[in-house]
């Protein structure tokens, strides 16, 4: 991204470097200390307007925070908060909880919303059902739930629930990040009814958040692998001097560059206020496709040491393998993109392609 974000990147890196890297273990669900320092510096509210309780700044600043934390495998719900859940609340005219408290988004599972008359004014709902694959379930203090509306009404209800006291299952993704279910037995929530199109935008923003994380982690994995190939000697020379290894690293670089270019373009489409569903779908699918190549070759070049817990590589490759199918699987977003590009018929593919980003 542009150099305007250098300062925020540097600040996040400073904070990251003051913490033990790669904090996730079987016993720790997240990096509470890192979160506290980020919150203290106002970085958990970047890109969210000050009048809503955020720290202000541009979308590009929020993206820079998310990218830097993703590359550093920071185990904190910043992507969810800054790029998905927070903006969704604001766009639906709902109050943002204190950004110092972690916020996440739940878009999967079967949760029904019914309007409630609890005397707390309009926009109050009751949520019932189970939200599945919830990022940072058990960690996030508040959850923005995309729930099914009452019968006969189209679209979705975007509702904010206080997660304290809610039953949570203990599932993790491949990297050990919490991805449990949240059981909502008549939980009270403030919320707003969304059109189907806007509900689609919320899902797309979440997918784009993951794509931003994927792009950053892919870049970092490439950098680690290039560095390792320069340091590791076999047959009396660095691995990177072998043409076979150079071909693999160049292939990785091609994938990473392609992902970065498309993710940047999708973020810019969002900045311009354009419909982000197809740009986000494309960015997410492209980033996921690159994971196949980049994670495989990174491990191949690192050899056996990269296959161990003691080496750092797995902290990002396991995230890559998970993130590509989170916030909507790669199959889901491929079909969304395919269907969307054909919206104007079989002859409309090319005009659609030139309009996406």
């Amino acid at each position: 991204m542009a150099s305007d974000q250098d300062l925020v990147i540097e600040t996040v890196r400073d904070i990251l470097s003051a913490h033990e890297p790669f904090a996730l273990t079987a016993d720790t669900a997240w990096d509470a200390g890192l979160w506290a320092d980020l919150a203290e510096a106002g970085l958990t509210g970047v890109g969210l307007p000050e009048e809503a309780g955020g720290s202000g700044g541009e979308l590009a600043d929020a993206v820079a925070v998310v990218r830097t934390l993703a590359a550093g495998a920071g185990a904190v719900p910043v992507a969810e908060q800054l790029l998905a859940a927070g903006p969704a609340l604001l766009a639906a005219d709902l109050d943002l909880p204190d950004p110092a408290q972690p916020l996440t988004l739940a878009v999967a599972g079967a949760v029904h919303a019914e309007p409630s008359d609890d005397g707390d004014g309009p926009g109050r709902w009751t949520l019932t059902g189970t939200a599945t694959d919830v990022a940072w379930a058990g960690v996030a203090r508040h959850v923005v739930v995309l729930a099914q509306p009452p019968e006969g009404i189209e679209g979705a209800v975007l509702a904010l629930v206080d997660a304290e006291g809610l039953a949570t299952s203990d599932a993790r993704n491949l990297a050990g990040e919490p991805r449990g279910s949240l059981v909502l037995g008549g939980a009270p929530a403030s919320g707003a009814l969304l059109t189907p199109a806007y509900a689609g935008e919320v899902r797309a923003r979440y997918a784009l958040a993951r794509a931003v994380q994927l792009a950053a982690a892919l870049e970092q994995v490439l950098a680690w692998t290039v560095q390792y190939a320069g340091e590791r000697h076999q047959f009396g020379r660095p691995l990177g001097r072998f043409q076979a290894v150079q071909m693999e690293l160049a292939e990785m670089a091609g994938e990473v560059s392609a992902v970065t270019a498309l993710v940047d373009a999708a973020v810019q489409a969002l900045e311009r206020g354009e419909d982000v569903v197809l740009p986000a779908a494309a960015a997410k699918v492209r980033a996921g496709a690159a994971v196949e190549v980049v994670a495989r070759l990174a491990h191949q070049v690192h050899g056996a040491i990269g296959f161990t817990q003691e080496h750092k590589l797995h902290h990002l490759t396991r995230r890559l393998w998970s993130w590509r199918d989170e916030a909507g699987s790669e199959l889901t977003w491929s079909q969304v993109l395919g269907v969307g590009l054909l919206a104007e018929g079989g002859d409309g593919l090319w005009p659609a392609l030139t309009r996406v980003v």
Binding site: M1, A2, E219, V226, A229, G230, G240, R241, Q243, Q246, M247, L249, A250, E251, A253, G254, E255, S257, A258, V259, T260, A261, L262, D264, A265, Q268, A281, A282, A283, V285, R286, A289, L331, W333, S334, Q335, V336, L337, G338, V339, L341, L342, G345, G346, D347, L349, W350, P351, L353, T354, V356, V357
Partner: protein, 388 residues
């Protein structure tokens, strides 16, 4: 993120979108009038001088060149939009493609005033066509090992002997910018880059013969161009004697970065899109989504290069990267499509998808060879990564 591999994002260009709409309208009219039919890989196989002249009349050739040479002083982003539309429609652009893409820019950069005035306006009019005189029977990836020689005779003219191959459409072309050895190589591993020179060779000269080399589908696009004591006038030296390697490298930045490095098989993808639209099949729609995501990323990469050209940069390393990723995609379209559609490829198929698949398959080996093999390109990218 400022490595030699990454470029700044391209700013949106309203002018490019305007000319895009004009080209699209023109192409729809031409298709409706039956002036051409869509085919795969038409920047190699679709020679149609009448069509090239129509593009010239509309100001869509030599777009970025100064007006004094018949150009139109438009941006590389506008040219990008025009070339992309032509390729997506599978239009017959092969006659002028090389001249417009790289020979003209090469002349602008290194040509004499007389050479520019004599040739550039004719290229921009769609009337003058070029071939690339680089590869030889014994020199493919190892370009600096070429053996075609040129020596000055008593009149100061160049006497050329040797042979060039894979010269696309030499039998329809007027000139070949020909890389020849005019001096001895120097010392050291890069010494053979010395003593190379580019000549602007009129293909109608005595002593030049052009022999067809047919590709897999029987098409005659490639040729062998043989120089047997061909006398090239002394003033047809291009640029500097002995600077041929440097000039060729600059030329390759133009050759490697354009949308023809990922749209050669687009007509197949378009046909596949029609099929997926008709069937509504989930696997086909997902495959279309996956392929489209790759194409959209390639567009962004290529647009970044167009924007860099507009800034006056010559991004040869990113260009190599785009060509590697793009040509791999071109070939992958074939296999991704046939995995999810029940179709048999044949040039005689009554099904347009079967025909497009056949054309794309039979041209496929070329995508990752022409303009520098992907192995060579990855070597350049590895250099950009600091590995060599």
């Amino acid at each position: 993120m400022s490595s030699p591999l990454t470029l700044a994002p391209a700013p949106p260009s309203e002018a490019a979108e305007e000319v895009r709409a004009q080209v699209r309208e023109f192409l729809a009219g031409e298709l409706a009038a039956g002036s051409f039919t869509t085919h795969v890989d038409t920047w190699l196989s679709g020679v149609d001088p009448a069509f090239s002249r129509k593009l010239g009349e509309r100001g869509w050739l030599g777009m970025t060149w100064p007006k004094q040479y018949g150009g139109h002083e438009r941006s590389a982003m506008e040219r990008y939009a025009v070339t992309e539309e032509l390729l997506a429609a599978g239009a017959p652009v092969a006659a002028h493609w090389i001249a417009d893409r790289q020979s003209g820019p090469n002349l602008l950069r290194y040509g004499t005033e007389a050479q520019r005035q004599a040739i550039l306006p004719r290229i921009a009019a769609g009337e003058c066509y070029f071939v690339i005189g680089m590869s030889e029977p014994d020199s493919g990836s190892d370009l600096a090992s070429i053996r075609t020689r040129a020596a000055r005779n008593g009149d100061g003219d160049w006497v050329v002997n040797g042979a060039k191959v894979w010269t696309s459409n030499a039998h329809h072309s007027h000139y070949a910018i020909t890389l020849v050895r005019t001096g001895p190589p120097g010392e050291g591993p890069r010494g053979k880059h010395q003593g190379l020179t580019q000549l602007l060779v009129d293909l109608s000269l005595p002593g030049i013969s052009i022999n067809p080399i047919r590709i897999l589908d029987g098409g005659h696009h490639f040729n062998e161009v043989v120089f047997d004591d061909a006398v090239v006038p002394g003033d047809m030296l291009l640029g500097e004697e002995g600077a041929g390697w440097h000039q060729v490298t600059a030329e390759l930045a133009f050759e490697r970065s354009g949308p023809e490095r990922f749209l050669s098989t687009y007509p197949l993808l378009a046909e596949f899109g029609r099929r997926a639209c008709d069937t509504g099949d989930g696997a086909q729609l997902a495959a279309l989504g996956r392929l489209s995501a790759r194409l959209l990323a390639l567009r962004q990469l290529s647009l970044r290069i167009a924007a860099a050209l507009d800034r006056g940069e010559l991004p040869d390393i990113p260009a190599a990267l785009v060509k590697d990723v793009g040509t791999t995609f071109e070939a992958d379209v074939v296999d991704e499509v046939r995995r999810v559609v029940d179709v048999t490829p044949s040039l005689d198929s009554p099904d347009p998808l079967g025909r497009a698949l056949a054309e794309a398959q039979l041209h496929a080996p070329g995508y990752t060879l022409r303009g520098g093999t992907n192995e060579i390109l990855r070597g350049i990218v590895a250099r950009g990564l600091g590995l060599r």
